[in-house]
Amino acid sequence: MFDALSDRLGGIFDGLTGRGALSEKDVNAALREIRVALLEADVALPVVKDFIEKVRERAVGEEVIRAVKPGQQVIKIVHDGLVEMLGGEDADTTLKIDSPPAVIMMAGLQGSGKTTTSGKLALRLAGKQKKKVLLASLDVRRPAAMEQLAILADQAGEGVTALPIIAGQLPADIAKRAIQAAKLGGHDVLILDTAGRTSIDEQMMNEAAEIAAIADPSETLLVADSLTGQDAVETAKRFHERLPLTGLVLTRMDGDGRGGAALSMRAVTGLPIKFLGVSEKLDGIEAFDAKRVAGRILGQGDIVSLVEKAAENYDQEKAERMAKKMRKGEFDLEDLADQLRQMQKMGGLGGIMGMLPGAKKAKQAMDASGVDDKTLLRQEAIISSMTREERRKPALLNASRRKRIAAGAGVSVQDVNRLMKMHKQMAGMMKKMGRGGMKGLMGAMGGMGGGMPGGMPPGGLSGLGGAGGSLPGLPGGAGGGGLPGLPGGKKK
């Protein structure tokens, strides 16, 4: 639905290369596009306006560097501006929890993810920092909210306990009881999960302020949905006015939203964004990274997430085994089946493509070719219909065996042939990766374009370098086995 900004700007700056400094006219044309792009990414209007002015000042008169397209140069300026506005590269994402029991209060709208985030934070503090954490739910409104937090505490396991539920108690009283319990129990951190509330509900906002006054939290975090639209500024502003907020947490960053709310909320409150919620699982919380979010707002993809996700889902042992095999140039059909399963785990083709720069065009190509997640399943079914020996030695597959396999998997012989061809290509790719390390990996990613009808548009991967190298590079050795290759299309 959204074109990457680089695609949009491409047209404006064609034929501009090497013409000295960026003129005001050029910049204005570009800024119009940037404005729309930011608005479509849900950055709030006043924030967009401010930001555009800053970029204008910086961009006009800027020398056009040869070798770099002016459009890309503007994008770099925009990207750098976004990173700066989001708090810079070394944004402070630590929590002030020195004096036990340190209270962390969670606040936000209904359904923003406070309870889940409370559980995630507890697990993170108990695990990484070896803190003893007490979780207390002050949500007496939503049915079963307290039970939810208790279950999460249970799931978090060692070091995390939930305050016993006493029915009928008021939030302020629960807060007092929680503080007492945290002191007596020798807890390092007390996390107070509060009920969701709208910022114009006076009574509820008073209640929140009262809780804050009682608990005197060392951290008060506003939890907000990263899919939030223009309202982000209003909500952030109002909560900031009423509560001693110290930071922001953005949830559902694993969605396909562009996350413009991050910029809006940060701009209007000046508060640091501390964490991002990145999955439904209890360990799905990460420290905020301005660069990544900036790249995402600009629609340049989120390569880091992709690699991390690949690493996360990749069984280390399996990866090492695979790496060994790859070095020897072995890649049999069992490995291919593994790869197919990995890809499904990572959210399927759509999930992976969504994180690649220039993915839109690749996705279109994918749609046009009829390659979808069903293809993955079908391919897995074909492999499952082979004998173990056949999987290990694909060369065994003669015509009659292929016929049998096709019948077994409920596909045509052509489908089997296609899979075999794809396997051959991938085996070649894997060999390269095995030899070339990271360079090989990038080669393989490029190769993936070849496997796709229409190919990955040249503009696709170039987006990587396009932002003047400002996109975070791929961390070395991600996941050992690296990125699973994408299978080729149905028709080539």
């Binding site: 639905m1 608005l39 479509e40 990414a41 849900d42 209007l45 006043p46 709208l109 209904q110 359904g111 923003s112 993810g113 559980g119 007496v140 409104r141 939503r142 049915p143 079963a144 909210a145 039970e147 939810q148 208790a150 279950i151 999460l152 009928g168 008021l170 009920a195 709208t198 910022s199 114009i200 509900d201 009574q203 209640e207 949905d225 899919l227 939030t228 639209g229 223009q230 309202d231 982000a232 209003e234 909500t235 949830t251 559902r252 694993d254 969605g255 396909d256 939203g257 562009r258 413009g260 709310a261 439904e280 499904q344 785990k345 959210g347 399927g348 759509g350 999930g351 969504g354 997640d373």
Partner: protein, 406 residues
């Protein structure tokens, strides 16, 4: 008022107005059982066993005092304006007695919506005291629409529509607001469609889908609170087997409403559960099955595949099921709502929309963009945490709330 479940609703609504509904304990934050349910369940249940398959649309209301046809005035637009003026105090909880005196859904929705002071309205007032509708003014207007989440494209089109007859003329903010509301109403009006669960096949299977935290469970709970009183034999299905305590949450709503809840333990296969639910509904001759599902982000193909499986499995028992697939959208969401509609429509064949949390500062302007692009009826809007805060969608009221009182 709302045709939640047949015509009985009208009667019930009136009674709700008549009853000296006990003042809600404001300080007591625990959401109480809906008071009217307790009062109505008994007589209705006595009436029901006579006909095992009561068609509530046919069934004449039991003769309870004050059972009159629904008042027409609820659809009256002037009343809306009047109410806007009448209750400007930003009280979170309107006086319950006063509330019962004006039971129109239109007014209720309007007052719920207007609790959040419309930013757009303030903006317009500051832009148009009286001035020429020129390029610059139009651009400012377009910005205001964008700031209400209408999206750049739709904002441009609405503004263009506005400029067609009025460009370069002197206009007041009142005129602009009225015209703007008209433009927006025109987009939304075709999508205004109240769902009547009393119609159609039995059992009617209704699936609620959406991203995490959009308000699916709460919406089902609100609908359930009304159903029993309307004589529906319903079953709630706790299909969110993933999130901690989601089952308990729905169970609480079911207990309040006096409607059975079918559930399995957390982690169970949701599709299997739904299959059992439909089987049971067919066996027991139930009218309605409301299925809660786990929240899922639309870009997670694994989770979307799981949703597709729920639907496939349901269709084994009834090829036409699910009869309704309702996508629940959060009013605070921005342009991503479009992507949500597309993805859920593609996977689950969404048949209608509900927008929740319109009682906050967010006005849900993206609904206009959705209505512009998708031919999907908008059934309800949520304007508060109580059961009666789920209201039928009205294009006029929504547009008015977005633009602000004229």
């Amino acid at each position: 008022m709302i045709l939640w479940f047949g015509k009985k609703k009208k009667k019930q609504e009136l009674e709700e107005a008549e009853l000296p509904s006990p003042a809600e304990p404001e300080a007591e934050p625990v959401v109480e059982l809906e008071p009217h349910n307790a009062d109505f369940q008994a007589p209705l249940e006595e009436g029901d066993p006579a006909s095992p398959h009561p068609d509530p649309a046919d069934e004449e209301p039991l003769d309870l005092p004050g059972a009159e046809p629904a008042p027409e005035e609820v659809m009256d637009t002037p009343e809306l304006a009047h109410l806007h003026d009448a209750s400007p105090e930003p009280e979170a909880e309107p006086d319950p007695i006063a509330e019962t005196k004006k039971p129109g859904f239109f007014s209720r929705m309007a007052s719920g919506l207007s609790r959040s002071s419309s930013r757009l309205a303030e903006g317009i007032t500051s832009v148009f005291t009286k001035r020429k509708l020129d390029e610059e003014t139009l651009e400012e207007l377009e910005d205001l629409l964008i700031a209400s989440d209408l999206g750049a494209g739709v904002a441009a089109r609405v503004t263009a529509g506005l400029a067609k007859d009025r460009f370069d003329k002197e206009v007041t903010d009142e005129e602009i607001k009225a015209a703007l509301a008209e433009e927006i109403t025109a987009v939304l009006k075709p999508r205004e469609q109240i769902v009547d669960f009393a119609d159609g096949p039995r059992p009617r299977i209704v699936l609620f889908v959406g991203v995490n935290g959009s308000g699916k469970t709460t919406t089902i709970g609100k609908i359930a609170s009304k159903l029993k009183a309307q004589g529906a034999k319903a079953l709630l299905v706790a299909g969110d087997t993933f999130r901690a305590a989601a089952i308990e949450q729905l169970t609480v709503w079911g207990e309040r409403a006096g409607i059975p809840v079918l559930s399995k333990s957390t982690g169970a296969d949701a599709a299997g559960l739904v299959y059992e639910a439909v089987e049971r509904a067919q066996r027991e001759g139930l009218d309605l099955v409301l299925v809660d599902t786990a929240g899922r982000l639309q870009n997670k193909s694994e989770l979307m595949a799981e949703l597709a499986k729920i639907i496939r499995v349901t269709q084994k028992l009834d090829p036409d099921a699910p009869h309704d697939v309702i996508l629940v959208l959060d009013a605070t969401v921005g342009q991503n709502a479009l992507s949500q509609v597309e993805a859920f429509r593609h996977t689950a064949g969404v048949t209608g929309l509900v927008m929740t949390k319109l009682d906050g500062t967010a006005k849900g302007g993206v609904l206009v963009a959705i209505a512009d692009k998708h031919d999907l009826p908008i059934h309800f809007v949520g304007v508060g945490e109580k059961a009666e805060d789920l209201q039928p969608f009205s294009a006029e009221a929504f547009a008015r709330a977005l633009v602000g009182p004229g």
